[in-house]
């Protein structure tokens, strides 16, 4: 696929956070370690495409989102937006056009909204700071439009209200409206529904899916919930300890997973239909190791029920196991 078809491309993206050693370590000249939060990720998002980034806590999924929205600086690799290298752009003035096109939706709507600002001011904030409107009339129109797109109708009713006057679902819509106000081409949504009650979730997901249909907006959906990822996304990328272990179409990942970690995630997901259709594999033991001490070889091998000698020595590269379906596992061959 040519680069221009992708709105976003990550190439060997790396984010290492240095560990500040103690005085003792420094005197002895011990090398400072690093938390390898993101450790070489290749991922692309096409125009109008919905890609889900799935992983457990500590997998680095949120850090990837923060790099894309320029809230964290990568320590290696590249990030291309429409083919343009954005990796080292840091000046606020240079970033302004980028921020206009890439927006983020945060998980916790209670914390993402300033309790002392009205809904109007919250949604108007990015329009003002990115200087996208010329006058008050335009500002009011854009805010109305954003609130309506996020399903807050009639928008005028919400202008003068404060976040505490709204329900959880409405608050999350305000967060979405804030991101939509600037008409971005890519939205990074970090667990946008995990704080919400089940009955509200579907409404929020519907809003996100509609945006893609109406505005051809691309979405990177960060979640820990595989069935949810399957439902909303075109493609799913599964992250383990800073690296992609498997990527493919939502259906292939859900119904023909090839990496043992993906299989384990699917098996661990509680299902309403009971155990029918579950692969016969032993449950995973233990927990995700610390990103400061990444295991040698395949980083999943200490927990993998199928690991053999090679897995302990050599890190498996992504192997094509189907059309646009890659799995980083020696057994996927």
């Amino acid at each position: 696929m040519p680069d221009t078809a992708n709105i976003l491309q990550l190439e060997s993206l790396q984010v290492h956070f240095p560990i500040q050693g103690g005085l003792f370590d420094r005197v002895l000249g011990r090398p400072a370690g690093a938390v390898r939060a993101v450790d070489g990720i290749d991922l692309s998002v096409g125009r109008g495409e919905i890609v889900a980034l799935v992983g457990e806590s500590g997998s680095g999924k949120t850090t990837v989102g923060r790099v894309i929205t320029k809230l964290a600086q990568p320590t290696g690799g590249k990030m291309l937006f429409e083919g343009r290298d954005m990796t080292s752009v840091q000046r606020a003035s240079a970033l302004r056009p980028y921020r206009h096109r890439v927006q983020m939706i945060f998980q916790d709507a209670y914390q993402a909204l300033n309790p002392r600002h009205t809904i109007f001011d919250i949604v108007a904030e990015p329009l003002r700071s990115l200087r996208l409107v010329d006058n008050r009339k335009q500002l009011a129109d854009r805010v109305s439009e954003a609130l309506a797109s996020a399903g807050l109708n009639p928008p005028g009713d919400f202008f003068a209200r404060f976040p505490h006057e709204l329900s959880g679902g409405q608050r999350q819509r305000v967060v979405i409206a804030g991101a939509l106000a600037v008409k971005p081409e890519l939205i990074v949504a970090d667990e946008p529904v995990s704080m919400l009650d089940v009955s509200i979730r579907a409404q929020i997901l519907q809003v996100l899916v509609d945006l893609r249909h109406k505005h051809n907006m691309a979405l990177l959906f960060i979640t820990h919930d595989l069935p949810l990822a399957w439902l909303i996304a075109d493609r799913i990328a599964v992250l383990y300890l800073g690296k992609l272990v498997e990527i493919g179409s939502a259906d292939e990942i859900t119904f023909q997973p090839r990496h043992p970690y993906t299989v384990a995630l699917l098996n661990a997901t509680p299902q309403m239909g009971g155990d029918a259709g579950r692969a016969e594999v032993p449950a995973l033991q233990g927990e995700v190791p610390s990103a400061a001490r990444v295991p040698k070889g395949c980083r999943f091998h200490p927990r993998c029920p199928l690991a053999f000698d090679r897995c302990r020595q050599e890190e498996p590269p992504p192997i094509e196991v189907g059309p646009k379906h890659l799995a980083a596992c020696w057994l996927a061959n």
Partner: protein, 335 residues
């Protein structure tokens, strides 16, 4: 499930329980006429959204109601004896020895400055009158029981992972050999793989120790994994109660059906999950009649005016006018 023949075998009976919370002179009803019975060794899921009253119901049973809660009617009986659920001091002998709770946020529930073995030993000393040595031995046994090597008992909570801390919470809950353990969203803060491990552990302990388990959760699929029976709550009332297999296959209450449809299930093919229309109920302005009627797609005239009672229906119970009339019709046909 609640017919009279079972009443004698019930470990716990909640009978018409209503609890109000007072706030600045306004009182709002958190649970409204909740009735159910729990048998020894039974695992029941208490499912509902925020504000459904699931936590209030469970905390009333555990004797952990907050000071501004007022029991306005009904009672809770444990092995046939009425529990003084609104009397903090009188509930003390009941707490932990008969009913214990595994709380959600293990990091907040554990004391950060004490070693975990000491924290588990504490209830054994206070409640069972053990000496420090005996209690420590018991704590070490409990750690092994929940899958933590006893030597890890010297660790402080921050040295443990989230899953391990939740195991410590379970060990504490089991310390005084209760017959009922209440899990208040015990796996909500955990990753899926850790969640599966904890649910499996709870299931094993339950059959090993013949525990009755009340699992409070907003996640129906968690209940499907590890409970026999589920009670669905909405705005302070139980709307449906029945065997897990039955409720998921054939939900009777429209709310239950909508809840199930709101969860993505790859086994059912790719269809967008359906939102439940409307907003969650405001407990200060409770709707008349059936509390769910403003959001119910199948509501009929009577739903707005008359409160449907929770009545026996098949193997379970359901509070829905639609169900009552259809059942009556069927009865008359058979007659």
């Amino acid at each position: 499930m609640i017919d009279s023949s079972h009443h004698k075998a019930s470990l716990l009976e909640v009978d018409g329980l209503s609890i109000d919370y007072g706030l600045k002179g306004i009182s709002s009803r958190a649970i409204d006429g909740v009735s159910f019975a729990l048998r020894a060794g039974e695992a029941v899921g208490l499912v509902g959204e925020s504000g459904s009253g699931k936590t209030t119901t469970a905390m009333a049973i555990a004797g952990l109601l907050s000071p501004n809660a007022r029991v306005s009617s009904g009672e809770v009986r444990y092995r046939g004896n009425r529990l003084p659920i609104d009397d903090d001091a009188a509930m003390r002998p009941h707490r932990w020895t008969e009913t214990s709770v595994v709380f959600q946020g293990a990091m907040n529930a554990l004391n950060p400055v004490h070693r975990i073995v000491k924290q588990i030993a504490e209830p054994c000393m206070l409640k069972l009158g053990m000496s420090r040595g005996e209690a420590t031995g018991r704590a070490r046994e409990l750690l092994e029981l929940v899958g933590i090597p006893a030597d890890r008992g010297a660790a402080y909570p921050h040295e443990l992972s989230g899953g391990m801390r939740q195991r410590v919470m379970i060990a504490m809950a089991l310390a005084c050999r209760p017959s009922i353990v209440i899990g208040d969203e015990p796996t909500t803060a955990l990753d899926v793989i850790t969640q599966a491990q904890i649910l499996k552990l709870l299931g094993e302990l339950r059959s090993q120790l013949n525990l009755a388990l009340i699992l409070i959760t907003h996640d129906l699929s968690v209940v499907a994994e590890c409970c026999d029976r589920v009670m669905i709550m909405y705005a302070g009332r139980i709307v449906e109660d029945g065997a897990v297999s039955e409720i998921f296959a054939k939900p009777k209450h429209p709310y239950t059906r909508l809840l199930i449809d709101a969860i993505p299930n790859p086994a059912n093919g790719k269809k967008m999950i359906r939102p439940i229309p409307g907003d969650p109920p405001n407990l200060l302005t409770r709707p008349s009649g059936c509390v769910f009627h403003p959001r119910c797609p199948s509501a009929i005239g009577i739903c707005a005016t008359e409160v449907p009672s929770l009545e026996k229906c098949g193997q379970g119970r359901v509070a829905c006018h639609l169900h009552r009339s259809s059942q009556q019709d069927r009865v008359s046909v058979h007659a």
